[in-house]
Amino acid sequence: MPTSRITARFAKAKSQARAALISYLMVGDPDLETSYQAMCALRDNGADIIELGAPFTDPMADGVSIQRAGQRSLKSGTTLNHVFALAQRFREQDRDTPLILMGYANPVHSLGYEAFAKHAAEAGIDGTIIVDLPPEEDQPLRAAYAAHDLSVIRLATPTTSETRMKTVSDGASGFLYFVAVTGVTGAGSADPQAIKPNVDMARRVSGLPICVGFGVRNGEQAAAMASIADGVVVGSAFVDHAAKAADSGQYGTVPTGMGELAKELSGAIKAVNRG
């Protein structure tokens, strides 16, 4: 039961009085085998949830780091089918770690919402964040997900009003991805105390765990976010390890580097008691 995999993971973190760590990697950056090894390293070093980035030629919500990751991934020939295959391979040996597919609408639309939902569910994916499908446009996706118990995970920002938050929450499940700074991924970090009232409002209105991302790069920042959120999302800092490896050709350094970062982040998050 996919949604319950997400729910179970947040329940586990809560029982340990800590926030969850959500880590992002771009699938196929620089290649699929490296992505698989990186997923295992992330899991082994304390990542609670893994977001699998699906590449798109025109990622309008992403900063330079993830744009380039997507270009490297496309260059290595990655498609949605590769993302499904990678998830399935991981799922065969890990039944508990929630997997979230994150990407843009056009590749999904091109495959067809029904087929996308079926393949994602069969691969053991638990939910998706389709960045450019806001509540106004994701009805076909929700309809397709209903048969498969997949979560539609939505985005909120510090500029999301309470009225708007109701719209964002309606039909959302799993968790809410709270974008800490208005801007693109990899942007500067936010002051956790400044956004705390927005995060509290989001939690109250949605009834979902609130995971904060954008601009979190190290243990110190992760700990600060962990004090106000139910989960901390880290993306660009992980992706930078793939960027370095792509430059040097030493792909083996990717799982090691990502694993070490996950260890630092999860250690810092665990040190913050949310009891």
Binding site: P55, D58, L80, Y104, N106, D132, P134, E136, T159, T182
Partner: protein, 403 residues
Amino acid sequence: MDKANNWDQYPDQNGRFGDFGGRYVAETLMPLILDLEAEYRAAKQDPAFTAQMADLWEHYVGRPSPLYFAERLTEHYGKAKIYFKRDELNHTGAHKINNCLGQVLLAMRMGKTRIIAETGAGQHGVATATVCARFGLKCLVFMGATDVERQKPNVFRMKLLGAEIIPVSSGTGTLKDAMNEALRDWVTNVDDTFYCIGTAAGPHPYPELVRDFQSIIGKEARAQILEREGRLPDAVMACIGGGSNAIGLFHPFLEDETVRLIGVEASGHGVETDKHAAALNGGEPGILHGNKTYLLQDKAGQILDAHSISAGLDYPGIGPEHAFLRDTGRAEYLTCKDDEALEAFQLCTRLEGIIPALEPSHALARLPDALETIDPAGILIMNLCGRGDKDVFSVAEHLGVEM
């Protein structure tokens, strides 16, 4: 599909033209486009806004643009009468300024002080920079790094007008990447920034408001032809990149069922090759830059690069209303290759003493085909949406002439 006998009902409240259009943006942009829509509704009802537009159109842009009987081209083909709507005579040399004025006035109503725009060939960038200079607003123009190299005169014009040019090297460094980067800037600077989109595409309400501002072209043309000939034309015709000049010409004629609407897409080296920009004739429906429309894309839904000799048509998508007009059959869309546009460019220059931009040269090239299907005693209006001064250097290069 229902017979869409009331074309004014589009877009619907969700920003849809049938299945096309919509608001496919990240949640970070949602409050901004909802605000813009509310402000636009208010502005449309405000006589002061309308009056200010009308005044600037007349005294700053030089509207109405003439409707000109192209006598020698008509003789050349020996069929129906050809009229040009002379939007190339506008201030800044193209139709783009019609829309920029409207959007910048909206931005000022909203208290925004920083205007951003994307540009390909530089025409929309120049028009935006011009209007920003006129009103003393800060202007940033995002332009693909490849285009910055190709369009140096326009880059300099924009700088003279006080705009800052941001070369975009992400992706392939062309128009679509400039649009991505402008959207990224917009979500990063939500408080003071207004995004002035150059074509009738993007998330709702942009396709609607750009169409409304450009509809001055068709409204004038309709009144002018009725006064001149006492009847409606048999067809109206325009080139299409994103489609703003074409929708501006078409829209006031939508209810006139006897008037055929003919758009011409740029098919580069040929629509059967991988070097063209004909989204309607060689693309599939998909989602990009905030709207659902026809797109050049591969089987996995990745966006393909467009190609056209004309940088202004070099875009892998098309405004959503054109996608709708095509699927309903209300408008027809032809294609024109690079070399055909070059020939038409020269023919018009020689016969009419008008140097057209390469964009409308695509529509000029399809005139004989359109005339074949029209009563020889009939009338056709073509929008000459831009002048060719900007293209003189690249045309010389294509013709192998050293300057």
